[in-house]
């Protein structure tokens, strides 16, 4: 079907104007690469009367180093992140995560901003209007039950962006611009554990850029996702690991997960491993810890227990690989 609902498209060339246009219509939505948004519009999940196309705003598209590290504009394309030499060298997990998103055409259009602000996903939600109607909709959109956990009042739709965890292990910060001015917050604070309302963005706030602090000396990182196919698929579980070793002992270890909760999540309790040797016991303990904190629900066709198992396995595998 070639259905495309009608909307008015604005194409501002500054961030300030984008914010202004956005606040003038309560149904409006930001549109970056559109690789997620247009799918949702066609499915009637999003019904904006106005869309603010961000692709003409030149100064949110650059990737540049400054004194404190790297600044990546929200409009930068994933394909560019994946091949950027600084990112590959200093923040390998970020390049790997960007390269693992969807397929090549999506990465050529899809932006990092759209990736970080991606809606949460669920089998019962990412469906056509007819489908959701036939299933009486659900809590997240128009309905009053959750088909994943029918008793409850919570939504467990999984955040499934690949790049967020890879940036979070570097303690990335984000610059936001809204009707009430700009602010900078840790990327981790962009998210909350609620599938229905997982972003802490204020009304009409625009993500302008991401700042990756200078990577510490000796730190290495990697990202890997589990998926059924080698391309296209969203992560069933994704894991970013950043490791610093000192004389065969763990000097610093950060792990962040995606697709196993409604928000991308830092794994807690890793400080306990500092100073320990990376032996089998430690690696098994890391796997256990990761598995415990992942809480995938039946939001994909692949069973949750597998996603939990596999996210632990990924964390262990990546840590081993980084320890070299």
């Amino acid at each position: 079907m070639e259905n495309m609902p009608e909307f008015t498209l604005h194409r501002p060339d500054t961030a300030a104007e984008a914010v202004k246009l956005k606040s003038s219509d309560s149904t409006s939505r930001y549109l970056a690469g559109g690789t997620d948004m247009i799918v949702n519009v066609r499915r009637g999940i999003e019904t904006p009367e106005t869309m603010i196309d961000l692709t003409a705003i030149a100064d949110i598209a650059a990737i540049a180093t400054d004194g404190d590290g790297l600044r990546i504009g929200a409009g930068a394309k994933l394909a560019d992140l994946a091949v950027d030499e600084t990112i590959i060298r200093e923040y390998p997990a970020v390049a790997q995560a960007a390269a693992s998103v969807a397929g090549p055409t999506h990465r050529a259009y899809g932006t990092i901003g759209g990736n970080l602000c991606l809606d949460t996903r669920c089998l019962f939600y990412n469906q056509s209007q007819w489908w959701r109607e036939s299933n009486n909709f659900c809590l997240k959109h128009k309905g009053d039950v959750c088909h994943v956990a029918p008793g409850g009042k919570r939504c467990f739709a999984a955040f499934s962006g690949d790049v967020a965890p890879a940036m979070m292990v570097y303690e990335a910060k984000i610059d936001l611009e809204g009707p009430n001015g700009s602010r900078t917050i840790p990327l981790a604070d962009l998210y909350r554990n609620d599938g229905m309302d997982h972003l802490t963005l204020e009304q009409d706030e625009l993500l302008v850029s991401i700042r990756l602090p200078k990577a510490g000396p000796g730190a290495v990182s990697a990202y890997e996702k589990s998926r059924v196919r080698g391309s296209i698929d969203f992560p069933l579980a994704g894991c970013a690991v950043r490791l610093t070793e000192d004389d065969g002992k763990i000097a610093d270890l950060r792990i962040a997960l995606t697709a196993v909760n409604p928000y991308p999540q830092m794994v807690n309790g890793l400080a306990d491993f500092i100073g320990k040797a990376l032996d089998d016991d430690a690696l098994d303990a890391i796997r256990e810890l990761v598995q415990k904190q992942a809480k995938p629900m039946r939001t994909t066709t692949v069973r949750p227990w597998y996603r939990r198992r596999v996210v632990g396995a990924l964390a262990r595998k990546l840590t081993v690989r980084l320890a070299g």
């Binding site: 609902p5 007819w130 036939s134 299933n135 589990s226 196919r229 296209i232 698929d233 692949v302 262990r316």
Partner: protein
């Protein structure tokens, strides 16, 4: 003599890797598919679908939709009371549900409007009142004692129950050294061809006539069904098949999309264009059914199969479709690959409240073959035999009739086995691979067209006309449906070969009911074999006319004319006549020449003497394939990587090695999808996986190197010895994969697809068992 002093010779086309004749248009984007037909005045068609799985339709209120500006026609189930379907005995499906809906997504109304957005809005305004009935999403539930019947004429929700016993099965088991029973379950799969369903229908109100373009494999069946449901004479309908973006069996019957579009066009008295979504295409379905197969097999200690007992249940969906044929094939295709004498079969095709299944590539054979080959592999392990050795002791010793009366005229399976055994280094490597790596073997076969047509009309199986005129172009007029498989290319090669002319002289006009001879369509791998033979006959007839004309001009008798393709001459010293000169001579007095060729199957190939179902599975020629699959399994995540596939396919004669290789690779690749990643899933009868993210067709990245070998057994009746090339290599992949995984990890997955979660579960169970055994 040409400039080099070489005598001229007929040009060879057969066996040449000729690029597809319709390639340039496709590559350049000039090929017109159904959705490329567009007229500014064309209305957009949209289908409203049922939101419930099983219900009586109490009322359909279309008033608000009709009142919407821009709406030109609204139709419901009352538009026609004529059912459609492939088999005359099961035409119970209506293009739009009338009294009852039987699956979520079944059409309940349709709209033609100025734009697709208006059409969708109008669909939303149609109010359907349902009185819900109990719904059954599994075969088991539909078969339950107190289940309500979906259709009045199908008691207990059984579409067809097929039972037969050939030979002495119990005696065979008594003779066995090992009797083994095993069960396999195959998920439902879809074709996911590139092009979603589309129809473009022009209604001529002055003449009450229809011109229909549709994405179909069977324009003739579409023609018949349109005439039936519209109650219009066939002569008032013209069906044209534009370029088609793949079919794989999902378009082997007339689909509701084209029938609804035609009804809308007539009602709106104009042109209607319907291009349905990918989700709608999934729901229209006609994919391969979910199926459980229980096989009991007896073997002697050297691996000879003494008896087979196969029980199977297929979940067919809400309507018959090809269902009866499918359940018959599943039984009859147990034969004709190995030397079997004692076989019992019990197959049930069950009606359920899910979208209707159909004839997917490898129709009827794939799931049963999967279970059968796995049973052989399991037993070879138990008996300590090599899987190749077990295949070899069961090879068919001589050509002729099987115990089920199927006719085998060529049999390249032994050579296929030899090739893949050697190419994969099986002997040196099996049992010696590092942990997590494994090899597996699977064999399969397929028919080259069903020898008995589904609808018996007394006509030949295939007819081809050739037209030759002053310009010296040989035009092939054929109803055969080119759907990307290369049938036009093969017909060009057949005709060019017979005439010995440059293939670029031969052009094809295809699949337009007003111009081309009728053809049953592209399914059951019938086209190369049947239409190819008809094309050869037509070309021979044409050649006869040309030789006669040349003889007249050269003043010799026809026997003395030597046809060298582009030159006809009477003796080696004679300069002869060019092809153009011969053509002009042939046109003298008669004008434009048409030559015709037919093909008919031989009655011996019809099957059916030993039991009625064998007629389904009767063919002029069986093709054969063997393949070895190598895998690596990640022990932590159970991710499976297919490292390589070696496949050999006996296609009789590779008329075009390039397209044959493409077909073999495509079959293997499709088998890989079914084996590893593809399955439909439902939530209360609602298709969850109706999109290409949740229905996981393998991507480029997942495609292994496929080493395709062609075996040429030269079938005595095939066109230049050819037989089927596009289906047999699919089924063997599935058991080769599960056997390779078993070889790598020591566990055999009995449920398809072998997704990592299914495999990891088995690996963990195994580990737990070993641990508790150790304690």
């Amino acid at each position: 003599m040409d400039g080099n002093g070489m005598p001229p010779a007929p040009i060879t086309s057969i066996g040449e890797p000729l690029p597809m004749v319709d390639g340039p248009e496709k590559i350049a984007g000039k090929a017109l598919y159904t959705s490329d037909f567009y007229d500014p005045s064309a209305l957009a068609g949209a289908i409203k679908r049922s939101t419930v799985a099983h219900a009586r339709i109490v009322s359909v209120d279309t008033s608000a939709a009709e009142a919407l500006p821009g709406v030109h026609a609204v139709i419901t189930g009352s538009e026609t009371d004529e059912g459609h379907g492939v088999l005359p005995i099961s035409r119970t499906e209506l293009p739009i549900a009338h009294d009852k809906v039987r699956y979520k997504g079944e059409p309940v109304a349709a709209v033609a409007a100025d734009s697709i957005e208006i059409a969708i809005k109008a669909c939303d305004l149609i109010v359907v009142e349902y009185e819900e009935l109990p719904a059954y999403y599994t075969a088991e539930d539909a078969l339950a004692k107190d289940a309500v019947d979906l259709h009045d004429h199908r008691e207990g929700n059984i579409e067809r129950h097929v039972e037969f016993e050939i030979g002495d099965v119990d005696g065979g088991f008594a003779d066995a050294d090992l009797v083994h029973e095993t069960e396999y379950h195959c998920a439902e799969v879809c074709q996911v061809q590139t092009e979603p369903h589309a129809a473009y229908v022009e209604y001529d109100g002055e003449r009450d006539e229809l011109t229909v373009r549709a994405s179909t494999q069977v324009p003739y069946y579409v023609h018949l069904m349109l005439s039936k449901i519209l109650k219009m004479p066939k002569s008032k309908i013209r069906v044209i098949k534009p370029y088609v973006g793949g079919g794989f069996g999902c378009r082997t019957e007339a689909l509701n999309v084209e029938m609804i579009t035609a009804m809308l066009a007539r009602r709106a008295k104009g042109t209607v264009r319907t291009v349905v979504s990918r989700e709608d295409t999934f729901i229209t379905h006609r994919g391969r059914q979910e199926q459980t197969i229980k096989i009991q097999m007896g073997m002697t200690k050297d691996g000879r199969i003494t008896a087979v007992d196969c029980k199977t249940i297929q979940r067919g969906g809400a309507h018959s479709g090809y269902g009866i044929v499918t359940i018959l094939y599943a039984g009859s295709m147990l034969f004709a690959i190995y030397d079997l004498h004692n076989v019992r079969y019990d197959g049930k095709r069950v009606l359920t409240n899910t979208p209707p299944c159909g004839a997917f590539r490898g129709h009827g054979t794939v799931n049963t073959r999967h279970a059968f080959e796995n049973a052989m592999d399991e037993m070879s392990k138990k008996l300590g035999l090599d899987p190749f050795a077990v295949r070899r002791v069961n090879l068919i010793p001589e050509l002729g009739f099987t115990a089920s009366d199927q006719w085998i005229n060529s049999y390249g399976l032994p050579e296929c086995l030899d090739i893949v055994e050697k190419a994969s280094g099986w002997k040196e490597r099996i049992g010696k691979l590092p942990p997590g790596r494994g090899l597996g073997l699977g064999c399969s076969h397929y028919i080259s067209g069903a020898s008995k047509p589904v609808n018996w009309t007394g006509e030949p199986h295939a007819t081809v006309n050739l037209k030759l005129d002053f310009d010296g172009t040989v035009v092939i007029l054929t109803g055969a449906s080119e759907i990307g498989q290369g049938s036009n290319t093969i017909l060009v090669q057949c005709v060019a070969e017979v005439l010995g002319i440059d293939p670029s002289r031969v052009k094809v006009v295809d699949a337009d009911s007003r111009v081309t001879p009728k053809d049953n369509g592209s399914y059951s791998s019938r086209v190369t074999y049947m239409v190819g033979n008809a094309a050869i006959e037509a070309a021979n007839n044409l050649k006869g006319m040309l030789v006669e004309a040349a003889a007249r001009k050269l003043e010799v008798s026809p026997e003395d004319v030597e046809c060298l393709g582009e030159v006809y001459r009477a003796g080696t010293q004679d300069e002869g006549m060019t092809f153009e000169e011969v053509v002009m001579a042939a046109l003298e007095g008669t004008g434009t020449i048409t030559a015709k060729g037919n093909f008919d199957t031989l009655p011996e190939s019809w099957g059916g003497k030993k039991y009625r179902g064998a007629a389904i599975g009767g063919t002029m020629a069986f093709s054969y394939a063997a393949q070895v699959v190598e895998v690596t399994v990640d022990p932590d995540t159970a991710d499976i990587t297919v490292d390589k596939v070696w496949v050999a396919h006996d296609c009789g004669k590779a008329l075009n090695p390039l397209t044959v290789e493409g077909q073999i690779q495509g079959s293997v690749w499709m088998g890989m999808g079914q084996a590893l990643t593809e399955e439909t899933s439902y939530h209360d009868g609602l298709l969850i996986s109706g999109n290409m993210l949740d229905y996981r067709v393998p991507t480029f990245v997942d495609s292994p190197p496929i080493e395709a070998h062609i075996v040429e057994s030269n079938d005595p009746h095939g066109p230049f010895g050819a037989k089927e090339a596009g289906e047999a290599s699919l089924a063997g992949f599935l058991p080769a994969l599960t056997s390779a995984v078993a070889n790598a990890m020591g566990v055999r997955v009995h449920e398809l697809p072998v997704t990592p979660d299914r495999l990891l579960q088995l690996l963990e169970d195994k580990e737990r068992k070993m641990r508790s055994a150790a304690e």
